[in-house]
């Protein structure tokens, strides 16, 4: 059902409520209508029954009246012709069959005497007290009379009296006949008519089985619990009552059936209502559970889940909203994912590219360094041989060498040694650049190392006529590679000596917060300001002339700087052209 949830619930409640109201209302309505119809019908039955009774009694009277007014009969009664009278009475009795007996009574003094009676079995009635009183009264006030109910020999008798001259005609009404007549018109076998006289005695249908006070006139007695329903009416001519007595269940069977039907429908309705409500509540709660489940699944991050609801109401709209939300979320997640993936891919590609380039660069670099290292090594061996043989020749092993030859051999040796130094420096640089320079740090006293350098360069200094000053302000212990450290200091000191013609070279050592500094100061030629920034570049001696004049490979400072930095220190330079330079190497002090 594609109805909004509200309407569904409303319909359900209305259905159940209206079912109740309808059943109760309709049953009472129909019951009232039916029972009033039944009553009406019964009253009409009573009326027709009373007409029949009235007719029956009147016809009795008429037949008696006709007899009494017949001239021959009158004459014969006066003559007391018993035979004739009997014959006449018999004829009437047989003709009409409405009489239990027919008689003609004469009064002899105070005695009543049958002139004749038919049938003879009623001869004794003349002695019945009630009978006599009734008849005697009629002799005093002669007129047409109907008696109340009398009992004669266990049978009810109602008498009709028609007066004549000095005689009366008295007949008993054939109640059996009347009763049968009434039986014929009773509405059902379980009901019967009863006749009562004005004193309330039963004429017909009595037999004492009903003890209810029958109301005079029209009316009803309902005794549902005793299963009795009585309808009464009057026969005004005789001032009789006529009643229709029925079984209550019999009459009201349609009402009762209706009652049962109503009850059945009520139960059915309630059952349907219960089933429907269960069904509806299921229908209502099921989608809610489905929603809850869906919301939980979506909440747990499974965004591809869809809530399937086709209830056509607010819940479906809610589910749709959920689905839409999930879809949107999923879309944005997917988009985000895609973007992230793309970005990652791009990044990865870039990384790979960079890595590739780096690798190639490194490889090229390594190859270069390797080449340099190999070349240096290969170059060193023959150079060593050259120097070695030159030495041997100069030492005179192979025969006497004259001065001129010795001089030239010395030039060979100096050049070869210079070349060897160059090669050694290149080897160092290439090692540093290839990342293959191994460091072997150990604890040593910087003071002692400087002292050692001092003693090794002292000769050279004296030779040049310079002053060598050494100022060790602090005791320093370093944890560095001592060979490399020595190489650096020695390089700086040799440079200082090399470029100083007069004055002094000063080596100083001091602490400055957390670091120590070795400064090599000279009073040499100094460095032009524009050259200072290139001072540590490879193969940069300030100019060609300097190189020629002072010798050196031009790699020393570069190596010194690189070694210093490799060991975690730094190198600084201050210089004034023409006045001198100061080189400082600074290392952190490790405790």
């Amino acid at each position: 059902m594609k109805l909004p949830l509200r309407i569904k619930i409303l319909i359900l409640f209305l259905l159940v409520a209206s079912l109740f109201l309808l059943s109760i209302f309709s049953s009472s309505l129909i019951k009232g209508k039916i029972s009033s119809q039944i009553k009406e019908h019964r009253l009409s039955l009573i009326k027709s029954a009373s007409k029949i009774v009235e007719h029956y009694i009147l016809s009795c009277q008429r037949s008696l009246l006709a007899l009494s007014s017949a001239k021959s009969f009158r004459e014969n009664v006066e003559k007391e012709n018993k035979v004739y009278v009997r014959r006449s009475l018999r004829r009437v009795y047989r003709k009409y069959k409405t009489f239990s007996f027919v008689s003609c009574i004469k009064k002899k003094g105070k005695e009543l005497k049958f002139l004749s009676v038919w049938p003879y079995t009623y001869e004794g009635i003349i002695k019945d007290k009630e009978f006599r009183n009734f008849v005697l009264k009629s002799f005093k006030f002669p007129r047409l009379r109907i008696s109340k109910v009398m009992n004669y020999r266990g049978r009810n008798e109602v008498l009709i009296l028609v007066p004549m001259r000095k005689a009366v005609l008295v007949a008993g009404i054939n109640l059996k006949n009347l009763s049968e007549l009434l039986l014929k018109i009773r509405p059902s076998k379980k009901s019967k008519f009863a006749l009562l006289d004005w004193k309330g005695n039963y004429i017909v249908g009595g037999k004492g089985e009903f003890e209810y006070k029958i109301p005079s006139g029209e009316g009803f007695i309902e005794k549902e619990r005793e299963n009795i329903f009585i309808t009464s009416g009057t026969i005004p001519v005789f001032n009789w009552n006529i009643v229709l007595i029925s079984k209550y269940t019999d009459i009201f069977s349609p009402v009762l059936a209706l009652k049962r039907l109503t009850f059945f429908f009520l139960i059915l309705g309630i059952a349907i209502a219960i089933i429907l409500s269960i069904h509806f509540s299921k229908k209502i709660t099921e989608p809610i559970y489905e929603l809850m489940k869906g919301a939980r699944i979506l909440g747990s991050g499974n965004l591809s889940y869809r809530i399937k609801l086709k209830t056509g109401d607010e819940l479906e709209k809610l589910a749709d909203a959920f689905n839409k939300m999930a879809e949107e979320l999923k879309k944005s997640y997917d988009l985000l994912d895609e973007r992230v993936k793309m970005a990652t891919r791009n990044l990865q590609e870039a990384y790979q590219e960079i890595e590739e380039k780096n690798r190639k660069l490194e490889e090229a670099d390594k190859l270069k360094s390797q080449f340099l290292a190999n070349m240096s090594h290969e170059l060193r061996t023959p150079l060593n041989a050259i120097i070695g043989f030159t030495d041997l020749i100069m030492s005179g092993i192979y025969g006497k060498v004259n001065n001129k030859q010795y001089e030239k051999l010395e030039r060979v040796k100096i050049n070869a040694e210079h070349l060897l130094n160059l090669i050694n420096d290149i080897l160092d640089l290439s090692k540093i650049e290839a990342g293959r320079m191994e460091l072997f740090p150990e604890r040593f006293k910087v003071n002692s190392l400087i002292e050692e350098i001092k003693s090794s360069v002292e000769g050279l200094v004296q030779e040049k006529g310079l002053e060598l000053r050494v100022n060790l302000f602090d005791e320093i212990e370093a944890n560095l590679d001592p060979r490399k450290f020595r190489q650096i200091i020695l390089n700086l000191v040799s440079n200082a000596i090399k470029f100083t013609k007069e004055g002094y070279v000063e080596i100083s050592l001091k602490k400055r917060d957390g670091e120590f500094e070795v400064a090599v100061k000279d009073t040499g030629i100094g460095i032009k300001e524009e050259d200072l920034k290139h001072i540590f570049d490879e193969f940069r001696q300030v100019d060609g002339s300097t190189a020629r004049e002072f010798g050196g490979t031009g790699l020393g400072l570069s190596i010194s700087k690189k070694l210093t930095e490799l060991m975690g220190g730094r190198i600084e330079v201050e210089s004034k052209y023409g006045k001198g330079s100061t080189f400082k190497i600074i290392f952190p002090i490790y405790s």
């Binding site: 041989a385 120097i387 070695g388 092993i397």
Partner: protein
């Protein structure tokens, strides 16, 4: 007095010749070998009093030769001085671990080398 005999093992002919000439000038009896196997053959025939041993040589390197000699009863007492361009500390370490008695770097510095030789050959 009999001259002390020094065995120079080096794959470079020039180095061998320079060392031989200089050491002879210093009054030693010098024999030479051009590689490890050659050296082992010579040692079996003419046992030297000291060996100057290069490291980088074809076939077998100096460390292996040294280790081999130091494991033999008849040669383990011959002092061995490595004379090599291999200057890294790990190589120096290897040299001593293989049983070498001293380690001298090339290029040859006679002022440093000769005292070391004299230490083993009085």
């Amino acid at each position: 007095m009999k001259k002390s005999r020094i065995l120079v093992v080096d794959d470079d002919r020039d180095t061998r010749e320079i060392l031989e000439a200089r050491l002879k000038a210093c009054g030693y009896d010098v024999i030479t070998a051009s590689d490890g196997f050659n050296a082992l053959e010579i040692i079996r025939e003419r046992k030297p009093d000291l060996i100057l041993l290069d490291v980088m040589m074809p076939e077998i390197d100096g460390f292996t030769v040294c280790k081999f000699l130091k494991e033999r009863e008849e040669t383990k007492d011959i002092p061995i001085i490595f004379l090599t361009a291999k200057e890294s500390l790990s190589d120096v370490d290897k040299g001593f671990k293989s049983g070498g008695d001293d380690y001298v770097l090339k290029p040859i510095n006679w002022e440093r080398l000769l005292p070391k030789i004299k230490k083993f050959l009085p």
